[in-house]
Subunit: 429 residues, 2 copies
C-alpha cells in the first residue's frame, strides 16, 4: 500500500505501541494512536495458526543475489510468484494470466516509485517532467497542490525525525517529490488537472482515507494509470470483479497484516514497463529480501489453500475471519456514532461479493469520521486521548479525520468507549 | 557493497548459475561467469554450520512496521543493532561507540542513495546539484565523466533487461544519475575534479575493482566523504585500524556472503545526517524487511561469538576460514599467472592484521587482471569461456579486466585450468 502507511505522530503518542510482540493490558488512561495503519489486528489470527505458517531458514540458504535468472524479474522467487498468482485466482480480485508480469518490491512503496521511473524514463530534455496526479482526498501534507520547491523545503527543510519521534507521514506527494527528480513531479488533485500532455493518475480503490470505490477522473489524452489495490481484498470490500488494469499494486501489509516484511507486488501488462520497474529495483536495492519473499510465499500459499478447500468441517479462512472482525468493528462503531450524535460516517453501497458468494457491506481499513457543526474532529478526539489524522492531511476540512480500524482489540474497544463519552463534551464546546 | 554487485552479462553466460541451492558438477565446456560478485564461495561453510544459524519465524511474528519506536532508526531491530556493534568490536575494523548511529538499509545500495539524499537536501534552488565523485578506477559504464543527459539516455533509453537476461551493471554513476535528481549529480573522477563548492567523494577501501587501500583524493574545500568499507573484513585485507570516518557503509553480502538478504548498514557520526538517511529509507521503502534483519542478527552474532571464544579446541572462525580460502585461491592464481606469462596482477603490501595478530597478505574479492602487450584481456578470456568485466567498465584500458574471486570452488578451479591453457593461444593472437 502506498498511502496510509502513515504512522505515529510522536513517541509521546506511542504509549500504546503495537510494535510489541504480545498484546498487553492497556492502562485506561493511555493515549490510543489510531493515526497510523499498523495492521496489528490480524496478529491473534496468525498466532492461532501455530506452526502452519512458520518458516525455517538454515544459515546456508538464500545466499545468492539471484532468484530466477531466466525470469524478467530475476530477483522474484518462483514460489512467491506462484503463491501470488494462486491467491488472486482463488480470491478472484485480479487477472493474473500467464502473460502478466509479477514484480516484487520492498513494499508497494518501492513499486510505486518503480512505476514512476518506468513511465517517465528515458528523460526527454525537451518536455516537462511527467505530471503525477490523484483525486482528492488522498494522503498529503497540507491543502491544495504542492509545487516542487515549496514541497521540498517543507519535507526536507524541517527537522525530519528527531530522536524519540516515529515517522508520521509517507504520502504520494512526498514519495513523488522527495528526490526532486527531473523525470516526474507531483501535480496535485486529478479533478482540477487541466494540463496537456503526458500524465500519470494514481487510482486507489478502495480509497484511503475514505474507503470509496474509485475510477480514474482526469481522463485526458496522454494519461496513464496506476491502480493501488492495497485494500481490494474480501475483508475490506465486496470483490465485484477481477481487476484487469495495466499496472496494479498490492501489498502483503494490508492483505494479511505482515507490514514488517516489506513485501509488495505489481501485476503489469506491458513488458517494457515491467522491465523498467525491475531496473529501478535493481538500481535502488538490487532486488528484495529473500527471507521476506519466502515467508510471504508461505503465508499466501496457506491462505490460498485454506480458501480453496471445502467441506462441512472447514474452518473459517483468513478472509472470512478478517471480514467478520471488520464487520463487527464497523457495526459497533456505527452504533456508537449513531448514539452520541456528534459524528457521521460515510455510507457504502452493499454489493455482491464473488468471493463470499453473497451480498456484503464494505468495512474499510480506515473510518473517515466527520464531526458535526464544523467541529475540528481530530482535536476533539485528541481531548479524549485518541490520536487520528485530520482532514487537512488529505486536502479537506478539519471536520474530517481518519481513524485506523486495524488496531489490536484492546485499543479498538478503548477507542469505542471514549468515543461514546464524547457527546457531553462536544456540547460544551 | 555499492559497486561490484554487477552481475551476469546474459542468460547465455549464466550456464553456471550460482543461484542454485546446491552445487552441481560443472560440465567442462560450460561458460564460467566471473563478471559478477555473487559471493557463493561461503555457502559450504554455512552449510557445515548446520542448525547453528537457522532462524525460525512463526506466522504471527515480525508483523508491525515498527522495530524500535524510540530509536532514531525506528525500523532497525535492536538485536541487529547489537550484533553489528558487537561484530565490529570483535573484529576491530570500525569504531562503533554508543554515540554512533547505526542505520540499516535494503543492501548498502539503498544506503548509498540515502547518504546522497542526506547530504544534498533540502534542495537549494540557487546552487548547483551536489557533485558526486570517486577516484578511478571505479565501476562505471564507459570511459570518462558522464554528464546527466548522455548518461540517462544510455541507461534508460536502451532495452534494459530483456527477458532471459540478468542484470549486468549496478554502479555508482548509474545509482547517482538514474532518477535525474535535482539534488545531486555524478561528476566523474575525483582525481580530475576541480569545481568549487560542495561535493561528495566516495572512497571505496579496499577498492573495487583493484583491491587497493584508498584515501580521499579530491581534498578540496566543501567536500564530504562516504567510505564504502564493504571489503574491510579480515578475509580480504589486513585490519590495520578501527575505521573512524563520518559515514561508513558495510554490507552483509560481502561480509558473510548473504547477498540474497539485502542487508547493509551505515555507521554515522552526525545525528542530522542519520535522521535524513532514515527519512530516505522511510520514503523509499518504509523500513527494511524484519525477516532479513533477524537472520542477519543471528548470523553476525554467531560469527562474533565464534571470534570472541578461545581455547585449544577452538574451531576456525568464519574470518579465519574465509582468509584461508582466499589466500589459497590467490596463491594458486598467482602461480598460474606467473607460469603462463600472459597476465600480471597487482601486488599488495603485506601488513599487520590486528584481528589475526600477525602480518598477512591482502586477498581481495576481485582479481584485477592485466594482459601483457596491450591484449584485450576480457576478450581473450571470453575465448576460453570465462566471462569477466573489462577495464573500460571502470574507466581504464581494455588490457585490464576484473575477475570475481568469490565463486564456488568448482567454478574457480575450472577458471584456473582454463587460464593455464591460455599461453599458447595468446601467442597466436
Amino acid at each position: 500500500m502506498v498511502v496510509g502507511i502513515d504512522k505515529a505522530a510522536s513517541a509521546a503518542d506511542s504509549v500504546v505501541s503495537s510494535a510489541k510482540k504480545t498484546p498487553t493490558a492497556i492502562p485506561s488512561d493511555s493515549v490510543i494512536n489510531l493515526a497510523r495503519g499498523d495492521p496489528t489486528m490480524y496478529q491473534p489470527y496468525w498466532r492461532r495458526m501455530g506452526d502452519k505458517c512458520t518458516v525455517v531458514i538454515p544459515g546456508h540458504d538464500l545466499m545468492s543475489y539471484f532468484s530466477d535468472p531466466g525470469n524478467l524479474c530475476w530477483f522474484l522467487m518462483p514460489e512467491l510468484d506462484d503463491a501470488i498468482r494462486r491467491l488472486h485466482r482463488v480470491v478472484g480480485n485480479a487477472v493474473v494470466d500467464d502473460d502478466r508480469y509479477i514484480i516484487v518490491g520492498t513494499g508497494s512503496t518501492q513499486l510505486f516509485q518503480a512505476v514512476l521511473f518506468a513511465l517517465s524514463s528515458p528523460q526527454n530534455p525537451d518536455t516537462e517532467p511527467l505530471s503525477v496526479v490523484a483525486a482528492a482526498p488522498f494522503y498529503s501534507i497540507k491543502h491544495g497542490n504542492m509545487g516542487m520547491s515549496s514541497f521540498s523545503s517543507h519535507v526536507v527543510g524541517q527537522p525530519l525525525i528527531l530522536h524519540g519521534l516515529v515517522p508520521h507521514l509517507v504520502s504520494y506527494p512526498e514519495e513523488t517529490e522527495f528526490l526532486c527528480s527531473g523525470l516526474y513531479k507531483w501535480a496535485g488533485d486529478a479533478y482540477s488537472f487541466d494540463k496537456d500532455g503526458a500524465y500519470v493518475e494514481l487510482v486507489t480503490s478502495p480509497n484511503n482515507p475514505d474507503g470509496t470505490i474509485r475510477e480514474a477522473v482526469a481522463n485526458r489524452e496522454g494519461g496513464k494509470l496506476i491502480h493501488d489495490l492495497a485494500y481490494y481484498w474480501p475483508q475490506y470490500t465486496p470483490i465485484t470483479s477481477k481487476a484487469d488494469y495495466d499496472i496494479m499494486l498490492f501489498t502483503f501489509s494490508k492483505a494479511t497484516g505482515h507490514a514488517g516484511s516489506r513485501i509488495g507486488w505489481a501485476i503489469v501488462k506491458d513488458k517494457q514497463v515491467a522491465a523498467k520497474m525491475v531496473k529501478y529495483i535493481e538500481l535502488s536495492s538490487i532486488g528484495v529480501s529473500k527471507e521476506a519473499q519466502l515467508r510471504a510465499a508461505k503465508i499466501l500459499e496457506v491462505i490460498a489453500e485454506d480458501c480453496a478447500s471445502s467441506g462441512p468441517d472447514k474452518e473459517e479462512n483468513f478472509f472470512e475471519h478478517g471480514h467478520r472482525l471488520m464487520s463487527d468493528r464497523w457495526e459497533k462503531l456505527r452504533e456508537v456514532v449513531k448514539r452520541n450524535g456528534v459524528f457521521s460516517l460515510p455510507k457504502y453501497p452493499r454489493d455482491f461479493c464473488n468471493f463470499k458468494g453473497k451480498d456484503t457491506d464494505s468495512s474499510p481499513a480506515f473510518a473517515w469520521l466527520k464531526a458535526k457543526d464544523g467541529l475540528n474532529c481530530d482535536n476533539l478526539l485528541r481531548e479524549f486521548k485518541i490520536i487520528t489524522r485530520g482532514g487537512p492531511n488529505f486536502g479537506v476540512d478539519s471536520d474530517y479525520t481518519r481513524v485506523s480500524m486495524l488496531s489490536l482489540d484492546e485499543e479498538f474497544n478503548l477507542f469505542l468507549e471514549r468515543l461514546a463519552e464524547i457527546k457531553g463534551a462536544a456540547n460544551r464546546m
